[in-house]
């Protein structure tokens, strides 16, 4: 299945792109996707823990299982205002 992955701020700088369509195995939780990404791009891992994640524009936990067509983003520390 395929998800849409979006990158913002420091993560966009590390990835060198705004986003990508990415194939993931059915049953993949958010936390496993994060580990895959860090393995490919160690620069994403500023800290040891997973950053806040959003699936389809809603904050979600690490155990959320991804579905085909999901829009997924890992969020660097927000700094609006």
């Amino acid at each position: 299945m395929t998800i849409r992955l979006l990158y913002f701020a420091t993560f966009r700088d590390v990835a060198g792109r705004d986003g990508e369509d990415r194939r993931v195995a059915p049953g993949t939780p958010v936390s496993a996707l994060w580990r895959e990404l860090v393995a490919e791009m160690p620069g994403l891992a500023r800290t040891g823990s997973m950053p806040p994640a959003a699936v389809n524009c809603e904050y979600t936990g690490p155990d959320t299982v991804l579905a085909d067509g999901d829009e997924v983003a890992f969020l660097p520390p927000v700094a609006g205002g």
Binding site: L6, F8, A9, T10, D13, A54, C57, E58, Y59, A73, L75, P76, P77, V78, A79, G80, G81
Partner: protein, 142 residues
């Protein structure tokens, strides 16, 4: 729409104020000329647009439930802003001032905590960096 690439216009936010409102609290966040001991020239605001919209909508509607009879309007700018320009505006109105102040204060606090917006500071020497409020710099927490 809560996000805008244009300079923030308060008029449409104030237009929602009702005849029954006796207090209107306006907060403007503006670009400061320094941060963490360094001079700032400009700030670029980047948003996860669709999620930022829904998060700001959720904040406004939640506050209106928490302070019944209050009305909360929010605008957040994106793009490159010069020192002195407003990056965010909150207008909270209510029958009495206590609720207007409280809802306004809570709105800006929640915006800073959860809305997916990031800012990159540009300095006079041409350098720039993304601001990380979690990095323990006390000046960003105020």
């Amino acid at each position: 729409m809560h996000l805008t690439p244009e300079p923030i216009d308060l008029a449409p936010l104030l237009a929602g104020v009702r005849p029954s409102d006796g207090g209107v609290c306006v907060f403007l966040g503006v670009v400061r000329d320094n941060h963490a001991g360094r001079e700032t020239r400009s700030i670029e605001y980047q948003a996860y647009g669709s999620m930022a919209e829904s998060e700001m909508e959720k904040i406004a509607r939640a506050l209106e439930r928490e302070w019944p009879d209050s009305l909360v309007a929010i605008r957040h700018r994106v793009g490159l802003l010069a020192v002195g320009e407003a990056s965010v505006a909150v207008v909270a109105s209510a029958p009495h001032r206590a609720e207007a102040f409280a809802a306004c204060r809570a709105a800006i606090d929640r915006i800073k905590a959860t809305v997916p917006i990031w800012k990159k500071e540009f300095h006079p020497d041409g350098s720039s960096e993304w601001v990380d409020p979690t990095r323990g710099d006390s000046s960003t927490a105020r």
